[in-house]
Amino acid sequence: MSVLIDERTRVVVQGMGRHGAYHAVACREYGTQIVAGTTPGKGGTAVEGIPIFDSVEQAVRATGANASLIFVPPAAAADAILEAADAGLCVVVCITEGIPTLDMVRVKALLASRATRLIGPNCPGIIAPGVRCKIGIMPAAIHLPGPVGVVSRSGTLTYEAVAQLSALGLGQSTCVGIGGDPVAGTSHREALEMFEADEQTQAVVLIGEIGGTAEEEAAEFMRQHVRKPVVAFIAGQTAPAGRRMGHAGAIVAGGKGTAREKMAALSAAGATIVESPAAIGAEVARRIGRRAG
């Protein structure tokens, strides 16, 4: 099985503008059940054969959607997440980049009392090749069904790791892009927890980056609860302190959040650390092989 999504996943796309519609179609072509879209004021119309509703609530009532994919612009994205949660959706994937941090702080506090699992924002989404379900913007063609779980803050670096795995015949159970923002719905630790509990997943690739302490928290959890092999890469080993490296979260500040610290914590917890981003796939092959043997 995959984590978070499966063949019963029915997706409503929030924000069916050009960008949203393009990806809605790409997800549908891959196999995802895209059952509805929302654009306030456009209810009753259809885009690419996808029925459009004025609200998530209406979409859920009419189509039985249980997950959402958000492309709403940053100023309204926090509201879109809360609307999806209010409509009772289990999984909400927010692609939107550039949401104000304090908006996400409030969203996180409001989601704490709900069962909704938020992925992102500022992320590529989730894909489970075994059930041909993707809720996101990743290129589907590089993925294969298989035993490796992938969790990452970065989009294209995840694609890089996935392409390496697939080239070696190592498919993926689920790839979870948790996003590069400082405040995110799902952490590395939570993704590890899901992969540890998932029968299909035999090994995990954890891709982190400088800034914050999410990788250290994942390491702490790993030490106590994770039996599966974990291969980790931390981007930004050579980043200068005090410079924000693209992602709002990627900054070494006050001497904290360095790649060295994260690599040491993960290594101490039993993860195999790869220093080269070109060696991720080969290292997983080595770990799984060794485990099987």
Partner: protein, 391 residues
């Protein structure tokens, strides 16, 4: 977005946070006039977007008008080097002329508000040990830093502000004004959509009055769209011209010191990983140019132009994983830019993903001397060799 001290203080006063009286001067004459208006002594403070100004000689006490004149003359237009500016320093273009408060018997404390990423909520930090680098305190005496986690839906509650004040020993008649200061600073943080609000030193005078003696406010770039009045506080002269130029085209450019390989990459994580693998191959990146997820050919051209404007670049490494950004679009942009700019340095291109084969065909058909590579490691090795070998 970073702000100058005088701008940060100006914003804090909107929320009733007490600051010393002051005026910002752009010339020696203005400095003198404002000193006369404020009354001696005054403090002359260089305004640059970097900390460590005091130790770097950018903050000077003036007891006489001759002092004001001398300090303003020595600072305005000069390069101020602090531990945060790097060896090249920053040119001082404006001064804050501020009333010189009586520091005899005063206490210098510290307070800050920021978002605690691990908790995903705001945290109020405070310490009795202000006036020094808080990072040093965090290392030498972590117990001296108080942390009060704040429920973002409730905001900082008065009892929490009092709890922090009491732990700092601010009791009796000091308790109410101390808590008031913290509550006002917190409300400023929220109202401004700040990423960081730091008051250091947070001054308590012998007369029992609190002041933000120095203040640092960083605004959340993502929230600026709803703060049009704050956008104009941006001082582009404090930013690198190429970074400003890149931002105009929705590109993210970061200059790195000491390297010679220009890097064009899509996505921040892949960009950092590319820097890492260049270092592993024995080279050093000159910069980091992230064209983002869905760049068009025009943006690719601008990206190349910005990369080539960096005089340190001896070779270019293009490392793109095509998702939404298709490899054929990338290749067209790279070919057009290489022709238009008549690029003389070697260009190593590694691209994977959407329309990879079409992209490769475009590069070959151009008959320009691109080096191509299949994976990141090979690309890095070739770029390092092309830039003149390991260093």
């Amino acid at each position: 977005m970073k702000l100058h001290e005088h701008q940060a203080k100006g914003l804090l006063t909107r929320y009733g946070v007490p600051i010393p009286r002051g005026r910002v001067a752009y010339s020696v004459d203005e400095a003198g006039a404002f000193a006369a208006e404020l009354g001696l002594p005054v403090v002359v403070k260089a305004q640059i977007h970097a900390g460590g100004r005091g130790k770097g000689g950018g903050v000077k006490l003036a007891r006489t008008f001759a002092d004001v004149d001398a300090h303003a003359r020595s600072l305005l237009g000069a390069r101020l080097v602090t531990h945060q500016t790097g060896p090249e320093g920053r040119i001082v273009r404006r001064l804050l002329i501020e009333e010189g408060l009586d520091l005899a018997g005063a206490r210098e404390m510290y307070m800050a508000v920021l978002v605690d990423r691990a908790q995903g909520r705001p945290v109020l930090m405070a310490s009795a040990r202000g006036g020094v680098e808080i990072e040093e305190v965090a290392v030498s005496d972590p117990g001296a830093i108080l942390r009060e986690s704040v429920d973002p839906l409730a905001g900082l509650r008065p009892y929490q502000a009092r709890r922090v004040a009491l732990k700092l020993g601010l009791n009796g008649s000091l308790l109410a004004p101390a808590a008031d200061f913290l509550l006002r600073a917190f409300s400023a943080f929220v109202a401004l959509d700040a990423g960081l609000l730091e008051v250091n030193p947070w001054l308590l005078t012998a007369a029992g009055r609190f002041f933000a003696l120095d203040a640092k406010v960083e605004l959340d770039d993502n929230a600026l769209a709803r703060h049009q009045d704050l956008v104009e506080l941006r001082d582009v002269s404090e930013e690198s011209p190429l970074e400003v130029e890149a931002a105009k085209h929705d590109l993210n450019y970061i200059k790195l010191l000491g390297g010679n390989i220009g890097c064009m990459v899509n996505g921040a994580g892949l960009a950092m990983a590319t820097m890492d693998i260049i270092k592993l191959a024995g080279g050093s990146p000159a910069n980091f140019l992230d064209v983002g997820g869905g760049a068009n050919a025009d943006q690719i051209r601008h990206a190349f132009r910005i990369l080539m404007a960096d005089a340190d670049v001896r070779a270019v490494l293009v490392n793109i994983f095509g998702g939404i950004l298709r490899c054929d679009v990338l290749a067209e942009g790279v070919v057009a830019a290489a022709r238009e700019l008549n690029v003389q340095v070697p260009i190593v291109v590694r691209m994977k993903g959407t329309n990879e084969a079409q992209g490769q065909a475009i590069l070959r058909a151009s008959r320009l001397a691109f080096e191509t590579a299949d994976d990141m490691a090979e690309a890095a090795r070739k770029a390092v060799a092309a830039a003149g070998g390991t260093r």
